[in-house]
C-alpha cells in the first residue's frame, strides 16, 4: 500500500452511530464522521450535546447502542479500551498520585513490556518534550496545574499512539496558561503528526487549535468545517450563534437570486443577504457578525443601510462595542475599532449603519424550543 492511499483512508470513521443511556433518549442521534489521519479535530458543543460521549465511545469506555466505529478500517465496537492503543488526556489529568512523574510516564511502556533501558529513554524524552526534564522525581501533587497538564500530555504520547483523545484538558487552567498550552499542544501535534480528537465547549479554544471543528448540538453534528468557514459561513442559526458573536434579524425570504436573496424584515425593511439554508417564502434569521457592521461614511456604500438608535457603549480598550436598537432587535451589537469611532456619539442618538450583503446570511430559523 502506498502512503497516499493510507492517508486518503480515514483514520477513524463513525457510521450511523447512536448512543442511549436510558433506552428513551438518544444522547448521540446519528453520528457520521470521518477523522483524517494527522488532523486536529475538535468536537465543540454545549454540555449535553453528545461530544464527550462520542469521545468515550472512541476510547472504548462506552459502547455504541447501534452503528459502527472503525479505527484503521477495523471495526472496534467490541474491542476493550486497553487494546485500542489510543492515547488519552483527561479533564483533571488523572495522573497517578502514588507514582512519581517519571513512573507515570513509564507506566504505559512497562505495561507494554518494553526493555527497561528503552522505557527509561522514552520516558525521559517525553519529559523533555514538555520541558519538564528536571521534574521526574516529583509527585503530581507537587506540580502546578499547568505542569500536571503537560505531564498528562506527555503520558498520553509516550507510547507513540497514532491517535490521541483529549477531553477538555485545559478546563481547569487559568486564561493565560490555557492560551499558552493551546499553542503548545498544537505545536506538539504538528511535530509528531498524530491525529488528535479534542473535546471542548470553549469556542475560542476550538478556533485556535483545530484543523477542523465539528459543532455538536442535540446529539448530531450541526456542521463540520475549518474554523474560518464555520465563522464566516455558518450552516445554520445554531452554529452562527454558538461560534463567535452574532446578531440575528428576523424576517421572511421574498426572492432568491442566485447566491443572494431579498429578505423582508419584520419591521418592514427590505434587506439583501447571501442565501443560506432557505427557500423563497421561508421564515429566516439573517445573521451578521458585529465587526461586519459599518458606522462611518463608508456605510453609505453598503447594500443595506438602516436606521438604529444607540443604547449603550461598552469600552474594551482596543475597540468599542455599541448596543443599538435595530428593527426590533434591542440587543444588536456593533464592534468597531476605537480609531473609527465618532466620539460625539451619545446614547439615544439616531445613527445609520451599513452592512454588506456578502456578510449577511439568511439562515433557517432555530426550531422553537
Amino acid at each position: 500500500m502506498t502512503n497516499q492511499t493510507a492517508s486518503a483512508a480515514p483514520h477513524v470513521s463513525f457510521r450511523n452511530v447512536q448512543k442511549s443511556y436510558d433506552g428513551e433518549t438518544l444522547i448521540v442521534r446519528d453520528l457520521n464522521l470521518d477523522i483524517r489521519r494527522g488532523e486536529f479535530l475538535t468536537l465543540l458543543g454545549p454540555s449535553g450535546s453528545g461530544k464527550t460521549t462520542c469521545l468515550m465511545m472512541l476510547a472504548g469506555f462506552e459502547t455504541p447502542t447501534s452503528g459502527e466505529i472503525r479505527l484503521e478500517g477495523e471495526i472496534i465496537n467490541n474491542q476493550p479500551p486497553h487494546k485500542r492503543n489510543i492515547g488519552m488526556v483527561f479533564q483533571n489529568y488523572a495522573l497517578f498520585p502514588h507514582m512519581s512523574v517519571l513512573d507515570n510516564l513509564r507506566f504505559p511502556l512497562k505495561v507494554r513490556k518494553l526493555p527497561a533501558a528503552e522505557v527509561d529513554a522514552k520516558a525521559r524524552r517525553a519529559l523533555d518534550m514538555v520541558q519538564l526534564g528536571s521534574f521526574g522525581s516529583r509527585y503530581p501533587q507537587q506540580l502546578s496545574g499547568g505542569q500536571q497538564q503537560r505531564i498528562a500530555l506527555a503520558r498520553a504520547l509516550v507510547f507513540e499512539p497514532q491517535l490521541v483523545l483529549m477531553d477538555e484538558p485545559l478546563g481547569a487552567l487559568d486564561k493565560n496558561l490555557r492560551e499558552q498550552m493551546q499553542l503548545e499542544i498544537k505545536h506538539i501535534q504538528q511535530t509528531l503528526g498524530v491525529t488528535v480528537v479534542f473535546v471542548t465547549h470553549d469556542q475560542s479554544e476550538a478556533l485556535t487549535m483545530s484543523d477542523r471543528i465539528a459543532v455538536f448540538d442535540k446529539g448530531i453534528i450541526q456542521q463540520i468545517d475549518s474554523a474560518e468557514r464555520l465563522y464566516e459561513e455558518p450552516a445554520n442559526a445554531f452554529v452562527a450563534n454558538f461560534i463567535g458573536e452574532n446578531n440575528a434579524l428576523v424576517g421572511r425570504v421574498e426572492r432568491i437570486e442566485g447566491e443572494h436573496c431579498d429578505v423582508r424584515l419584520d419591521c418592514g425593511t427590505l434587506i439583501r443577504a447571501r442565501t443560506g439554508s432557505v427557500a423563497a417564502g421561508d421564515r429566516t434569521l439573517v445573521s451578521v457578525r458585529p465587526e461586519r457592521v459599518v458606522l462611518d461614511d463608508s456605510a453609505k456604500g453598503c447594500a443595506n443601510f438602516l436606521d438604529a438608535v444607540v443604547k449603550e457603549f461598552i469600552y474594551l480598550g482596543d475597540q468599542v462595542r455599541i448596543r443599538v436598537d435595530l428593527c426590533g432587535n434591542h440587543d444588536f451589537t456593533i464592534k468597531t475599532p476605537i480609531s473609527h469611532l465618532d466620539h460625539s456619539l451619545r446614547s439615544g442618538d439616531q445613527i445609520r449603519i451599513g452592512m454588506d450583503a456578502a456578510h449577511m446570511r439568511a439562515l433557517e430559523p432555530l426550531p422553537a424550543a
Binding site: 479500551p81 486497553h82 492515547g87 483527561f90 488523572a94 497517578f96 502514588h98 504505559p108 505495561v111
Partner: protein, 423 residues
C-alpha cells in the same frame, strides 16, 4: 487645614496610652485561646479524672513494691550499712524484731510474709513462725534469740533477701509478664517452662488479632469497594446494613452466635441437611467460634475507613490506566489498590488494636486455648486480686500496642490517612 490635621491626629494612636501592635495582637490571640481552652475544658477534665489518672495509677502498680519497704523501714535503714558479707550488725536484728512485733496481728505481717516468700519459698512460714514467738523477753541478745527461733536468721542470704525486696519499686511483675524473673544474684533469667505462660498468651493474642484483621480486610474490602462504586441511594442502603450490628450490644451478638454455632444450632443443621457433613462440626468453644464472632463484631471498623478512602479515589484513574494499555484487573491492582493503602492501614490498625484488648468474645466462645491477654488481666484483678500482675500485663499490652502504632505511623503515617482526598 486645621480640620484635616485634627482628623489625622485622631486616627494616629496616641503613643503612650495605647499598647503596641504586638501586644494588642497577643492579647487578642490570648482571648481566642482562652475561649478554645474553655470549650474543651470539661472533656479534658473528664478524661484526666476518668481515663488518664486511673490508667496511670494502675500502671504504677506494675512496679509498686510497698510491702517490705513500708513495713520494715528501720530494718532497711540499718541494712544499708551492712556490706552483705558475714552477719549484719546487731542493730539490724533489734530493728527487725521491733518492727515485726509491731506488725504482728495486722495485715502488714501477711504482706511481708507473702512478699518475702516470693524471694525464697519457705520465707512465709519463717516470718509467721518468728512473729508468733515475739515479743522477745527483755535483755536478751536479739541476734542469738532470733537465730534460736530459726537457724535461717543466722544466714546472710536471709537478710540479703529482705534487703533485695526492700526497694520502693520492683521489676518483678513486668518480668513475670514476659516469663522472666530475677535470680538471687540479680540476673534476669527465663522462667521454667511449666511457669512460662504469658509469652505464649501474648503471641496467641498477636496471632489471633492478625488473623481477625486479615479476615476483616478480605471480607470488608469488596464491600467497601462496592459501596464506593454504587450510586448514593444503593450505597446508603448497604451502609445501613454495615452499621446494623452496632444497634445491638456485643453481648447479645455473642449470645446469638452461641445459639447459631452450637452442635444443634442452625448452621450445623443446615450443613448436615445439605449433606456437607455427617455429624455436627465443632464450631463453638474453639478458634472457629471466636474468629467468626470477632470478625462479625469488628468488620464495620474495617469497612468504614476503607469506604471513606475509596470514596475519594476518582474512577478516572483506572480509566486512565486502561487507556494507557493496562488490562482492567492489573489497572485496579497497580493504580486503584495502592491508593486504598491509607484506608487499609487505618482499618487494620483499628481492628488489630481492638482485637488485642478483646475479652468478652474469647471468654464466652473460646476454650482456655483461645484466651487472650485481657482474660489474664481480668483473672488477676477479679479473682486473685494480684494488682501487680494485672497491671504488668496491662503495661505489656499497652506497650505492644504503642510499638505497633509507632511502626504504623512510621510507614503509613497518620498524616497519610486522608478521609477525603483533595481533588
Amino acid at each position: 487645614m486645621t480640620a484635616a490635621s485634627n482628623t489625622a491626629d485622631a486616627l494616629a494612636p496616641p503613643a503612650a496610652s495605647v499598647p503596641s501592635l504586638k501586644k494588642r495582637l497577643r492579647r487578642a490571640e490570648m482571648r481566642k485561646k482562652l475561649l478554645y481552652g474553655a470549650l474543651i475544658l470539661p472533656l479534658a477534665v473528664f478524661l484526666l479524672v476518668a481515663f488518664v489518672w486511673p490508667i496511670a495509677s494502675l500502671l504504677t502498680r506494675s512496679i509498686d513494691n510497698p510491702e517490705v519497704h513500708d513495713n520494715l523501714p528501720h530494718t532497711l535503714r540499718e541494712l544499708k550499712a551492712w556490706d552483705g558479707e558475714g552477719m549484719p550488725p546487731a542493730a539490724v536484728f533489734t530493728a527487725f524484731a521491733a518492727e515485726l512485733e509491731s506488725a504482728k496481728g495486722s495485715p502488714a505481717i501477711a504482706e511481708i510474709a507473702k512478699r518475702l516468700n516470693r524471694e525464697e519459698t519457705g520465707y512465709r512460714s519463717l516470718i509467721m513462725k518468728t512473729a508468733r514467738k515475739l515479743p522477745l523477753p527483755a535483755d536478751t541478745d536479739v541476734p542469738s534469740a532470733l537465730t534460736e527461733i530459726d537457724a535461717r536468721w543466722g544466714e546472710a542470704e536471709t537478710w540479703r533477701a529482705i534487703r533485695r525486696s526492700g526497694g520502693a519499686t520492683t521489676p518483678f511483675y513486668l518480668l513475670a509478664a514476659i516469663d522472666r524473673s530475677i535470680d538471687t544474684h540479680g540476673n534476669i533469667v527465663t522462667a521454667p517452662p511449666e511457669e512460662a505462660v504469658y509469652v505464649n498468651v501474648l503471641m496467641r493474642t498477636f496471632w489471633m488479632s492478625l488473623i481477625v484483621t486479615g479476615l476483616c480486610l478480605v471480607l470488608g474490602f469488596p464491600v467497601a469497594y462496592l459501596m464506593a462504586k454504587l450510586a448514593t441511594k444503593q450505597s446508603n442502603m448497604l451502609m445501613f446494613f454495615v452499621l446494623l450490628p452496632f444497634w445491638t450490644s456485643v453481648l447479645v451478638r455473642v449470645a446469638a452466635w452461641i445459639i447459631l454455632l452450637q452442635n444443634e444450632g442452625l448452621i450445623n443443621k443446615v450443613l448436615m441437611a445439605i449433606g456437607l457433613t455427617d455429624g455436627p462440626l465443632q464450631l463453638l468453644f474453639n478458634r472457629v467460634g471466636v474468629y467468626v464472632a470477632m470478625v462479625h463484631i469488628l468488620l464495620p471498623f474495617m469497612v468504614l475507613p476503607l469506604y471513606s478512602v475509596m470514596k475519594g479515589i476518582s474512577p478516572v484513574y483506572v480509566r486512565a490506566a486502561v487507556s494507557l494499555g493496562c488490562p482492567p484487573f492489573k489497572s485496579f491492582w497497580k493504580v486503584y489498590f495502592p491508593q486504598t493503602l491509607p484506608g487499609i492501614g487505618a482499618g487494620a490498625l483499628l481492628v488489630f488494636i481492638m482485637c488485642m484488648g478483646y475479652y468478652i468474645t474469647p471468654a464466652l466462645l473460646g476454650s482456655p486455648q483461645e484466651q487472650m491477654v485481657s482474660y489474664f488481666i481480668a483473672f488477676y484483678t477479679n479473682q486473685t486480686i494480684n494488682w501487680g500482675m494485672a497491671a504488668a500485663l496491662s503495661a505489656v499490652l499497652l506497650g505492644a500496642t504503642l510499638v505497633l502504632y509507632m511502626v504504623y505511623a512510621r510507614y503509613l503515617g497518620p498524616t497519610r490517612v486522608k478521609l477525603v482526598k483533595p481533588r
